[in-house]
Amino acid sequence: MSAAIDVATQHELEQLHSRYAALLDDGPLAQWPELFTEECLYLLIPRDNHDLDLPLAIMRCESRGMLRDRVRAVEQTVMHEPRYLRHHITNATAVWADGELHGVAHYSVLEVLPDALPRVLSCGRYVDRVVRCDDGRLRYAERRCIYDSVLVPNTIVYPV
């Protein structure tokens, strides 16, 4: 059984998505994992794999700790050209089911490299499970970023 969400919850959900985008685009990246529950699942998965029911994701974090490890590795170990990213998250919808919000939102991420015109780094949809935590905040228990742009323009350095 699922139930519609009220306007206040819709607003709160959209605020969560906006916060997510802001932390990835403008930082601090280290705070991004705090938007997830301790036990969580974050997947960046090509649409082909999703449609074919193949499990491979190009980023797979199975806990908030693994999200933090990803952030630290990106910041401290990965060699990459500097870049600006800009997330656009739209069409956010959700329903209540089993005490959780089951949501979908569309996204696109624009990327600007130092010496190039802006381009679409990734586009697709987020399929989420969002829960209300003890501190009253909404957090992602699960976010599957299913990207339509299966041919990735070179490198995805930061989470999508």
Partner: protein, 408 residues
């Protein structure tokens, strides 16, 4: 650049002229002499097309190719282009079918690439139609030779490529069979990336253990691949194929890591499940990277297994097409382990991202200086197998062969 200026510096492969990465004439010559030469090119794994009629579209060199299992279970390959007017025949990446029908005039082909149907072949109301001497059997799809080794499908545009074992040579065949040991493979998924660099830069990268212990801070930090580990570089007799073989050592600092300026000694994982390697082969090698001329890298990095296929798209760009797999007899824990370790690989990989970024920079740098040349002297001038990583011998071996095939 005119042909006269295209002179390779020296008579060995210790200098690499930068025009090889961006010259369109060189690229065209590579497509015909290398990718359509007497070679075996990786096309697919059998697990992708298990049932009769299952097909997958891939690219060999710069040409689209359909690989299909026919109604008798035999794997066939033919070019993805209608024999009538050159229209790309199949628009799907994969699927199951008995016939391929061209969207333009509905010429249809069976799973062996034979032309079966030509609408209005006899005309309409005694008007039009094909001439009397038109024979459908003259207009099938050009086929490719196919060979299958333990679940891996290779194809060739060439009429008489050597037998696959002979092509790989004894040592490379042994390591190929180490991963592809006859067990059925389980397809885990794909990852595709378009890298803005020449396709050879990817091969160089995988034949180059010197960079691995310097560029890849993540690998070094966690002891997955380091200059002080027991390791070897091995080639086949021709230099076409190569193996980088290494054993995992300790994480953290050692005397031989002093040259690695950005080693992160203080980096420990909060969730160590990301790296939880277990031994799964009978030898001690924890990393085996195999490059198979002209389009395949077989990757075993701990427990993450992948086939990386190189699909050139012009001199300055290639698709790197990753097929991740395990074995059908893997338990759930092993599959999870492989999926977690895949975090190190492909376009968002904690290790591979370094490579796709550096390949772009190599393209950017060499493009501007086509008449200059790079230096390949690490480990000496020869192309012999060595029991260490501080060498560029496998790149030299590749280019010795390249010069022969390309007559450069």
């Amino acid at each position: 650049m005119t042909h006269n200026e295209r002179v390779w510096p020296g008579d060995d492969a210790t200098r690499l002229p930068y025009w090889i990465y961006s010259d369109p004439d060189i690229y065209q010559r590579e497509m015909s002499r290398i990718f359509r030469g007497s070679i075996w090119a990786y096309a697919a794994i059998e697990a992708e097309i298990p049932e009769p009629g299952d097909f997958r579209v891939t690219r060999i060199g710069d040409r689209s190719v359909i690989v299909i299992r026919d109604e008798h279970g035999v794997i066939r390959a033919f070019v993805n282009r209608c024999a009538h007017r050159g229209v790309k025949l199949c628009r799907q990446q994969r699927g199951n079918t008995r016939f391929f029908v061209c969207p333009y005039h509905q010429w249809s082909y069976d799973a062996q690439g034979r032309l079966k149907g030509v609408p209005f072949i006899k005309g309409v109301k005694q008007m039009g139609g094909m001439p009397d001497d038109f024979r459908r059997e003259d207009h099938g799809l050009p086929t490719l030779a196919v060979t299958v080794r333990n679940g891996v499908v290779f194809v060739s545009f060439h009429e008489s490529p050597p037998p696959f074992p002979e092509y790989l040579g004894e040592t490379n065949l042994r390591y190929f069979d180490r991963v592809f040991d006859g067990r059925k493979l389980r397809l885990l998924g794909y990852s595709r990336q378009l890298i803005p660099g020449n396709w050879k830069l990817m091969f160089e990268n995988i034949k180059d253990p010197y960079h691995a212990s310097l560029l890849h801070v993540f690998l070094v930090t966690f002891g997955l691949f380091r200059a002080d580990q027991k390791s070897q570089v091995r080639m086949d007799a021709t230099g076409m194929h190569a193996l980088l073989i290494s054993q995992r050592g300790e994480a953290g600092k050692s005397t031989d890591t002093a040259d690695i300026s950005n080693l992160r000694e203080d980096f420990t994982l909060e969730d160590p499940r990301l790296l939880d390697p277990v031994r799964e082969y009978s030898d001690d090698a924890t990393v085996v990277m195999q490059t198979i001329w002209p389009n395949l890298i077989v990757q075993q990095q701990s427990n993450t297994l992948a086939l990386r296929q190189l699909q050139p798209r012009g001199p300055e760009s290639f698709e790197l097409h990753w097929t991740f797999f395990g074995y059908e007899d893997d338990d759930e824990t092993m599959t999870r382990r492989r999926l977690r370790q895949a975090n190190l690989m492909s376009s968002a990989g904690l290790v591979s991202a370094d490579d796709s970024e550096v390949i772009k920079l190599a393209q950017d740098g060499t493009r501007e200086h086509p008449k200059d040349a790079g230096v390949l002297l690490m480990g000496g001038r020869d192309t012999e197998d060595v029991p260490h990583m501080v060498t560029e011998a496998a790149i030299r071996a590749f280019y010795v062969r390249y010069r022969e095939v390309m007559e450069l």
